[in-house]
């Protein structure tokens, strides 16, 4: 009597670089309310369990879980925080439903990153405190505000140690990873830039995106190196937004007037947190995909998957993830971006929503934004960016710098 797990409702806010007019509670309320209306259920009666995906330091509370229940409808109901991307939340909701004890589970993830003023310092706070973090700069609290502007004169000798005044931005790690990717696959910076162009273009057809733009590969190439070879436009900008999914077992779904989308499989995996011994080939995505394909009974991912949303927080990550997920052979992704395979009308439409580069980096909601796009595509509600005959879709997310963890979810039309 194995149960199937269906997506019965989705809700989301618009994604905006700032949301000064609403509180973190209200942004969550909006996404949740829309998801419950979409599912046609009464949250206070019908939802058995709630999961929020959040990390304390993004939000500004020592225990963010405290500030969750009211606005997701979880008063006096089972509710918890999963400290991870939204896809980890979906995975846990899936398992809760599969136990047979809970029928309807709501998963919420959001970004209210505009509340955070010291983003770089918080990301640095995720590095190993003994061997990695102190390399970035002084252990004493730096005096911000008065950082001198960088000039193009020949720089002075670079000395670490006690005379340092500033901490290096943690995205330097993306520079290291991108260098590794370019070297091992022979991909060029232009090919990575083409990802930026494609995703920002796709975002024009997505009503909730925030960073759509019409630019050329040259524009990307001309943007400044911040962490060579990572350029300013290779980095997805931060965005606020919330997404909520309602999942249910197939029996419950039958009683609702809904064409369900099945959560057919999920996978997640963590690599070592030590940069010291971590491979830089996105092994987390490879293993997560393997688990998800097995669960969803997918044997030939490249042929069977009709639409993919993969993590593109940095442009090269999209190509790296496609290869790690087995959607491209090792070293093949660079061709796929050049020959149009990844376009909306290509044979492997990727990041049709605009991805993180077009919608914005929505932190723990990144995977949920991607899952949202897949469900929208499978429902056939994607408007001008609709992929024809989409039956099976894949959403993938990575937990961002400096982690080596990621998750994959596979959705199928009923």
């Amino acid at each position: 009597m194995s149960r199937k797990v269906c997506v019965i409702g989705i809700g989301h806010t618009d994604f905006n670089s700032m949301t000064p007019d609403i509180q973190w509670k209200e942004i969550m309320y909006e996404a949740c309310k829309k998801a419950y209306v979409d599912a046609g259920i009464d949250v206070r009666k019908d939802v058995n369990s709630f999961i929020t995906c959040a990390e304390d330091y993004w939000e500004g509370f020592s225990i963010f879980d405290e500030f969750v229940p009211d606005q997701v409808g979880a008063l006096l109901r089972p509710c918890c925080t999963v400290c991870g991307d939204g896809l980890f939340g979906l995975a846990n909701a899936y398992m809760q439903i599969k136990t047979g004890h809970l029928d309807v589970v709501a998963v919420e993830a959001h970004s209210k990153i505009s509340d955070l003023l010291t983003f770089g310092d918080i990301v640095l706070h995720a590095f190993d405190p003994l061997f990695e973090r102190p390399v970035s700069g002084p252990v004493e609290r730096p005096k911000y505000g008065g950082s001198p502007e960088y000039t193009s004169e020949a720089p002075k000798p670079l000395i670490g140690g006690s005379d340092e005044k500033e901490r290096i931005h943690p995205y330097f790690l993306a520079g290291l990873e991108m260098q590794h990717f370019l070297k091992t696959t022979g991909t060029t910076e232009e090919q990575c830039a083409a990802v930026v162009v494609k995703n920002k273009k796709n975002a024009f057809f997505n009503p909730y995106s925030d960073y759509e733009a019409q630019i050329s590969i040259e524009d990307v190439m001309k943007s400044e190196y911040l962490f060579k070879p990572v350029k300013r436009l290779d980095i997805s900008p931060n965005v606020d937004g919330a997404v909520c999914f309602v999942l249910a077992d197939d029996k419950t779904t039958k009683n609702l007037d809904i064409e369900p989308i099945y959560l057919a499989g999920f996978g997640y995996c963590s690599e070592t947190p030590w940069l010291s011994t971590r491979g830089m080939d996105a092994g987390y995505a490879t293993k997560a995909a393997k688990m998800a394909y097995k669960m969803a009974k997918i044997t030939e991912p490249r042929k069977q998957i009709d639409v993919a949303e993969v993590d593109d927080r940095f442009s090269f990550k999209e190509l790296q993830h496609l290869e790690a997920l087995g959607l491209a052979k090792p070293g093949e992704a660079k061709q796929l971006i050049e020959d149009g395979t990844l376009e909306i009308n290509g044979s492997l439409p990727t990041n049709t929503s605009g991805g993180c580069l077009g919608v914005g980096n929505c932190f723990e909601a990144t995977g949920m934004q991607k899952a949202l796009e897949i469900v929208t595509q499978l429902r056939g509600h994607a408007g001008k960016r609709q992929v024809t005959d989409a039956e099976i879709g894949l959403a993938q997310a990575w937990r961002g710098i400096p982690s080596g963890s990621g998750a994959v979810a596979i959705f199928k039309r009923g």
Partner: protein, 159 residues
Amino acid sequence: MGSLEKQTDPTSPMHWRGDMQADYFYPSGVAGDKFFKHMMRSDTFLASKCTICNKVYCPPRLYCEDCFEEIPDNNWKEVPPIGAVRLFTVAKLNAHGKKLANPKIIALIDIDGTDSAMLGIIASNDINKDITGVKVKAVFKPKDKREGTIKDILYFEEI
């Protein structure tokens, strides 16, 4: 947004400032304490080697992350503070998103005689040079100034 009233007056209060400031004290751990104490006395690193898979860790570990077995004391060894640059980047932004006064080269350095890399700042006058594969050596603080942290390494420089 599902609620019946919204902010329409841009002059009304919009934000509330606050923080999560606290200071942190990280004991070095069993393996880290040995490593740092050794580095306070001598200009070399300590590494630990898994008895099962023979992987050599530097910075050393109490246990092997793959085999999940404790590494006994007699499987520790000294290694020279020398390695080859595996990956590097030139960082131009500080943690606040502003330009660094001086861009810094930060690299992942494969430490000789180990299966591990260390993160380090590379001292160089030429930020445009490709230093992949270049051999570098750690430059330490004077012994009397060492405190038993990774900051006792000032930077790495080309040999």
